[in-house]
Amino acid sequence: MAVKYNDFVIKFANVNGSGSASANGMFAKALFRMGIPVATRNIFPSNIQGLPTWFEVRVSAKGYMGRREGVDIMVAMNAESFAEDVASIRPGGYLFYDNTKPLAKELRRGDIQEIGVPIAELLLPEFADPKQRSLFKNITYLGVLTALLNIEFDVITGMLSKQYKGKEDLIKPNVRAMELGRRYAYEYLQCPLPIQVKRMDGIGDRIMVDGNTAAALGAVYGGATVCAWYPITPSTSVAEGFERYTSQMRKDQETGKSKYAIVQAEDELAAIGIVIGAAWNGARSFTATSGPGISLMSEFLRLAYFAEIPAVVWDIQRSGPSTGMPTRTQQGDIISAAYASHGDTRHVVLFPSTPRECFDFGADALDLADRLQTPVLVLSDLELGMNDNLSEPFSWDDSREYDRGKVLDAEALEKVQRFGRYLDVDGDGIGYRTLPGTHPTKGAFFTRGTSRDEFAAYTESPDAYQRNMERLLKKWDTAKTLVPKAEVATGSHRNGVLYFGTTALPMQEALDHLEDEGIGLDTCRIRAFPFDAGVEAFIRGHEKIFVVEQNRDGQMRQLLVNELQIDPARLIPVLYYAGLSISADEIHSQISACFSAHKLSRLTEVKS
């Protein structure tokens, strides 16, 4: 059988809370350190202990990082999900299980290969403590896998000693448990398998990190000083990351005091209220939440839009509505974020695709919010936020200055004849603001959600109200020129595909598959709402445009139709919203089916 290197999907089926996460993480990290592109996906229940959990690793020499259907190697360590796990293996794939107890007949499949290792039996004489035995089970299967897949052993043992640095007494039993599995494999199994790994140079200087950590770090670099939040999966690690990095990087050297304030609020309403109060008073501030939190924050978001107060909100989307599937991914908050709240409202929304972009947007969103004096929502999702993704390393331009927007200090106020908070002095729809306590006699104004004139005086004058609302539209036009531009790759194709956020992960793979079938598409990755001119030009320049997104109702498509007055017939939805991240196979098959159904011309036909 021909050996296939660095191209498979391995899935670990475990029991939640059994300590498998660290062993599985080590597996992925080892491959990464061997220079092999890997993508990890943690598929976990809304539960702390006891329910099934899966960890999927896509290994791809080509660098395809999206989810792929079908499992090549299933490490089935959970009796509860065993039948389902066996069923998910591709024909010709491998089932790795603990054969201390023999496999029931009805679970056997003729078209896969079984790899049984008596893990429990191996551990029994070695470790007296049953708790240890249970924990080391994970390390032992890791040991078996190093032999089966040809993983460099010193890479893994190196990680072990680093992980347990300072706790030397933990290293020894871990290495022993691992060697137990490895030795067994060499002795009794055919090693390595025809599916295996080989060191390559596929990583470069890239890092492996989750988007939430990157977002938190971006907020630190972007100068956020106030973080207010309420725990909600999958966003919690944004605030926790901010706490971790600020406690390392933002302590005053002399006094040990904190150059930041983190408030775990009583709910999302309070979290956004604190953010808005802090931003009103001139501190860069942000919150992180998920869909239900956006719903709760809506009233405040409308106030901030109208009162023109900067605020940054990270929405790490999960499967809705309501609690939906709270530990599964989706892109379901696009409409609710873009139009959050009552009355005529539009919010700036950013769509990061990679951890690096989470880092960049973590800082850029703060600049944008200050410049535009309005809330900026950043829509990530569980897939990007909570899974380790390959990413360009973080970097920062040390000459960069924060854009604090139009804020008048005391000196500037001295030169102002009459301060008008909502006067459109520069013609871009953005007025000048002042911060509380700036000047003894000038620049104070009253912020309110009620209608006011250009000088912030309360008024119910129909003209003044409408003038103000129209100025906000002008500001919206300004926003179009300031938000991150779409990434457009236009070649000679008649048709195109629009995508954003984590839909980018499987896109290259899908495009390659489509091209094999003679389907060529130009691409446009949307990075922000309002849509910049590039998005509109892309749509106008193509006949049919596929809009790929992970929700049921085609929310991005709705937004495009609504905002750009596009004929809906030209925008073809490609949707997936079952809670896992969208796969290349899904995109490929839907687009391919559409080409067939509509008899759209393929590459070969175009050429002829």
Binding site: K259, A261, E266, G273, I274, G277, D398, F445, F446
Partner: protein
Amino acid sequence: MTFVAKPKVHHPRLPLNDLGLTRRDYEGSISTLCAGCGHDSVSAAIVQACAELSLPPHRFAKVSGIGCSSKTPSYFLGKSHGFNSVHGRMPSVATGANMANRELYTIGVSGDGDSASIGLGQFAHIVRRRINMCYIVDNNGTYGLTKGQFSATNDKGSTSKKGAPNLYEPIDLVSLAIQIGASFVARSFSGDKKQLVPLIKAALMHHGMAFIDVVSPCVAFNNHSGSTKSYDYVRAHSETVVGADYIPHAEEITADYAPGTTERISMPDGSILQLHKLTDDYDPHDRVGALHYVQSKQAAGEVVTGLLYLDANAMDCHDIMNTVDTPLNQLTEKDLCPGNAALAAVNQSFR
């Protein structure tokens, strides 16, 4: 209300404070509330307190929620910024504002609907977080702006203007504040300026959460004979337990109370808070005792007023969080951005 604008000039003989300013420099725009509204008296008391303390009139952050009470921040301290925010959510906005700049005086004005109904959760949590601010509730027991519905502080059995009784238990914000961590808790009456002004002064000078519940009758909807928040009822049923005087550190202490009933408390800035105990068995430093006293008097239909609880040495939220002395909103790139070099180690931790 009146639509006649206030004259910009003031009487030449108005007294000047230490900053050379008059009371007029602490006023705001003209009130749009009903003539005789208790809330206007509270605003006037704030003006007087700030003027007498010679505080810079632009160094306040005024925040409020929604309702009649929450309109009032535009009627005092017109040289300071104000924020009339979301119904029941003043505490979160105040928290953020105070986090951003700890040097400003934070004044929050709220109402009984705002703080005891829609915003009870936020009220409770800002108190337990001990934000350094003066939190005033203009408490009239009714929803004025929506024309006279009962609020959650309305006493059981108290009647509406049309005579219908309130069937539900009242929420006592004072008891709640004492219980969950306010280090300064007072109750007063909008019609008793002599008591209210020193309390506001002391609250502004207090380091930590200072809460004042001000019974402030609604002349339009809750000032009739069946109301327990009317001018007449409060005058007839209030009992002052501890009066307070605030004396700036520069001023000579001229106490006119009998020895033995007066206690002087040094404030962090060297000023003195002078408490006049009018009831022998009341100890404003005893949290449990204070709660018991307030509750037992309430059960007897009495409105206990004065400074009810004080812990002059309490920490505020910034102390608890150990934030830097410089206001967070004044920190620059140098303070906040760790720089590209630090990212090398961060990147390495993800390899």
